[in-house]
Symmetry: C2
Subunit: 339 residues, 2 copies
């Protein structure tokens, strides 16, 4: 009888460090762009008003795994103290089809998305970047900050902006800073830069070298006129139709990269710029994985504005799930159950 390893959200939080997640997501992006890994078309199903689910699956031959993530959305769950987007990941051995692990996808989701924003900065921002601005103070904020500090050691300050006001950002700041410090501590690092509230968005944008947007916004938050030359944007928020965070004119004059171009056009930050006729698909430079593999040029000079449109691909989850599985074996974490 076969055994499967079950990794709960708690087990993942205690074991999986952000550096491991960044490394795994880098491999996912590189393998995707080199066509060394397969993404399978997403299945979506509406359950009833206020609830749906989707299944994203993929195969990573170099990591010897395939698998799927089923994520549901139940809009009324938070009222009952339950997560709005419960998710489950199943990982299989591509040598014999045996199930390897069942993982809480939420525990992986935050890290893999934080890793993506940071990877955008690592490969596209100016190496001398000093100031990071995080637009959005939700569940993603701490992970984005910690991952970016990890990969951009020259950063000297972090500002937090909440579109609903500085008071909201100030209220969230201690928890976000503590969570970011915890994530960095898991990698043997300290949170050694000041994290402050940005009250004036135009001024904060004009001062920043790296801007990560991670809000649920459905309209532009950042005006092209505010942006200084050489800025890098990692756009995390837009991942379904109708979402948007940047003025399309920013994309028009930037060198734009995506995790998956088709997905960026359909559901990412690029969608509005494309749909409004401001940006053309041929103006998107390419996939970030190609920049990482050095088959595509990234930033061309220090004055260019760069954008990474991160929409999220199943391979990120699979790669981090695989890394978590390996770590769990090493550390003896998780519950082995007969299946």
């Amino acid at each position: 009888m076969s055994q499967i390893l079950v990794l709960s959200r708690q087990a993942l939080a205690a074991m999986l460090d952000l550096r491991t997640a960044v490394g795994a997501v880098e491999q996912a992006f590189i393998q995707k762009s080199a066509r060394q890994a397969s993404l399978i078309p997403m299945l979506y199903h509406a359950l009833h008003a206020g609830a749906d689910f989707d299944i994203k699956a993929g195969h990573m031959p170099q990591s010897h795994v395939y698998g799927l993530k089923l994520v549901s959305w139940f809009g009324h769950n938070p009222e009952q103290g339950l997560p709005a987007m419960p998710g489950t990941t199943l990982l299989f051995d591509d040598a014999n089809g045996q199930p390897l692990a069942l993982l809480n996808a939420e525990g992986i989701g935050l890290l893999r998305t934080g890793a993506a924003g940071a990877i955008g900065a690592k490969y596209l921002a100016r190496p001398d970047s000093r100031r990071l601005l995080l637009v959005g103070t939700g569940a993603q904020a701490a992970c984005q900050i910690a991952a970016t500090l990890l990969v951009m050691p020259g950063l000297e300050s972090v500002q937090l902006y909440n579109p609903h006001g500085a008071a909201k950002a100030a209220a969230r700041l201690p928890a976000i800073a503590a969570e970011a410090a915890g994530l960095l501590a898991g990698c043997g690092q300290a949170l050694d830069v000041p994290v402050t509230v940005a009250a004036d968005l135009p001024a904060a944008v004009a001062q920043s070298d790296i801007i990560i947007t991670a809000t649920p916004s459905h309209q532009a938050l950042i005006d092209a006129a505010w942006v200084k030359p050489g800025t890098h944007f990692s756009c995390i928020g837009a991942d379904v139709k109708g979402k948007q965070e940047l003025d399309p004119m920013i994309l028009k004059h930037a060198r734009v990269f995506a995790d998956d171009i088709q997905q960026a056009i359909e559901i990412g930050e690029c969608q509005t710029a494309i749909n409004s006729g401001i940006l053309f698909q041929t103006e998107i430079a390419g996939e970030i994985g190609a920049v990482m593999a050095r088959t595509l040029a990234g930033r061309m000079d220090a004055s260019e504005v760069t954008v990474f449109d991160s929409t999220g691909i199943a391979l990120q989850d699979l790669a981090v799930a695989r890394a978590a599985y390996d770590l769990a074996l090493q550390k003896g974490v998780g519950a082995w159950v007969a299946l």
Copy 2:
């Protein structure tokens, strides 16, 4: 933190009885035909030569669950003592998206397929049927026999036929009879009819009231000329392109039902008859679920030949998984694991 119930193949075998599976599959067929349950288009992916996987998902609102089954095929697995088609089922609560159970899909697969063959007989065979012929002596044989004896108590004899010769059938007979007896014992019944080998297929067909075909054949095994009036066929074998067990002329002159008409035409026993122009889609009477719900007439008279083309639908697995989950809660079986 949420908990998930893990039901291994061994736990399912010890707990899940065939009568429960038959009842669950009946509900699946009825809900499907009444459009009270949703089937989601299948995802298929080739991993490499000799290996692939598919994901079948569905939602049963009346049973308050949704979920998926991932079944892989690794052609070389049996050489290493591993199952060729490992499968895993995930079940979720449709009220809040919480994962309910992870189940070994193989433990469910045999029962749900055995139940389907028997349900074909229960709703389409002549009530006075006395003789059952099982064509095929593989993994499905015992389950088909036991389930059919369960739902057709007037049966007086079972014959086993193996297309590769009577000696092979004789060699397999003791194990199949013992397994069928075990499955019946799980329902409080005895295997109280003789199970014998059929050496002469034309003669066995001519004597039988119910014929279940469950082989991997890619060509017709049963000639229309051998079939006596009033015979019922449950066709289990054909479930991918190219498979076939009956002479298409049998279908041409029979009243034909399917679990899912489109699937029957594409991958079921109907495919060859349709593709060769012998059978027209409009000649297929309908879905068996409609017969069960009495919205469609089944057998019209005692002399008619009836066919149930069973291709397998995800709702069978979901319904049996749901029943297994309920049974496990009642009986305190399975492993609860934090997720």
